[in-house]
Symmetry: C2
Subunit: 175 residues, 2 copies
Amino acid sequence: MSRSGPVGTAAEAAKLHGMPKEAQPRECSIADTLDLVGERWSLLVIRELSHGVRRFDGIVLNTGASRDILTARLRKLEAAGIVRRERYSDHPVRFEYHLTPAGVELCDVLITLMRWGDRHLHPDDPPVRWQHSCGEPLDAMVICRHCGGEARVGAHSPTGRGVKSGNTTHTATAQ
Amino acid sequence: MSRSGPVGTAAEAAKLHGMPKEAQPRECSIADTLDLVGERWSLLVIRELSHGVRRFDGIVLNTGASRDILTARLRKLEAAGIVRRERYSDHPVRFEYHLTPAGVELCDVLITLMRWGDRHLHPDDPPVRWQHSCGEPLDAMVICRHCGGEARVGAHSPTGRGVKSGNTTHTATAQ
DNA sequence: ACCAGAGAGTTGTGTTTTCAAACTAACTGC
DNA sequence: GCAGTTAGTTTGAAAACACAACTCTCTGGT
């Protein structure tokens, strides 16, 4: 496998003997986003908020999450600036939850997850349809802003500091 | 999650007295897709495969997943038809992993996750850029196939059997 | 005044998953 | 015949999760 030259010593040490501990995960926005939102329930919470369900018990009911976990997730999403917690009553102190603009942007992830599930898990009876503002049921597509073409075509070639050189291990071409 | 089962009166019973146990999660392609792919590491495995890393140790190295978990994830993704396991050597039996077409379609999810992370977590230095086939660095957008407009605009209104009626609890309007 | 119930959690107690590192097994190349 | 590669298992310990029950503060009915 590719003598990748003078890399950082972590990877070297790692491959010296059986890779005991030193994995060197990529720097990557996907991983970083998943750290915030990749746990069980988090994205379903965002789904509920985007559907207009704003109260604790409503979210419990519609997702199936247990209440303690839901508390933890809401706190984490709030800390990440994805959710805003707002008091709607003072006498019994009560809160409801809203998506922040950053949270609303996460709906793109929900949309692509839903499209995949509709196509591959429910090919002829999507359980939910989202109506787009144009009036039609939403059928989503991810495109490149520059050329307008479908984003996922052929092999993409990643570049940047999160890309290591010698790890593709002689299997170069696309799928 | 997503206990579909014989629905009917569960929600009714649930909201009648204090909702002791009976949550009734929505039928939903988002939840169903997350059941397959929503665990930690699963999407990072798909990221690696989409980058052309096909071997067990390469995936361990680049994701940081522990080996036993990776084994479990790969088996699950294979069972779901997202990943194909292919023998590339017989004498020491060795395998490598590929994305199936269904797996390739999941790259849309990765792309939207990456875009969110780039915008909100690394506003001025994305760790990785994906080059689109048009030559430009990919800047993705989710659109509606019908009208070509951005998918996530204003409030969407979900319809279908996965939508329950009385759960929005008097908070009606959009975000 | 009294009780039921909503709402938003917290607490306590088990059950599962995950983790990290070590170990196995079957080879290759020198 | 030994170092090294590859693809996993195994093994305890740690973290996450599930579930029911409980709290605390009101509101609304009788």
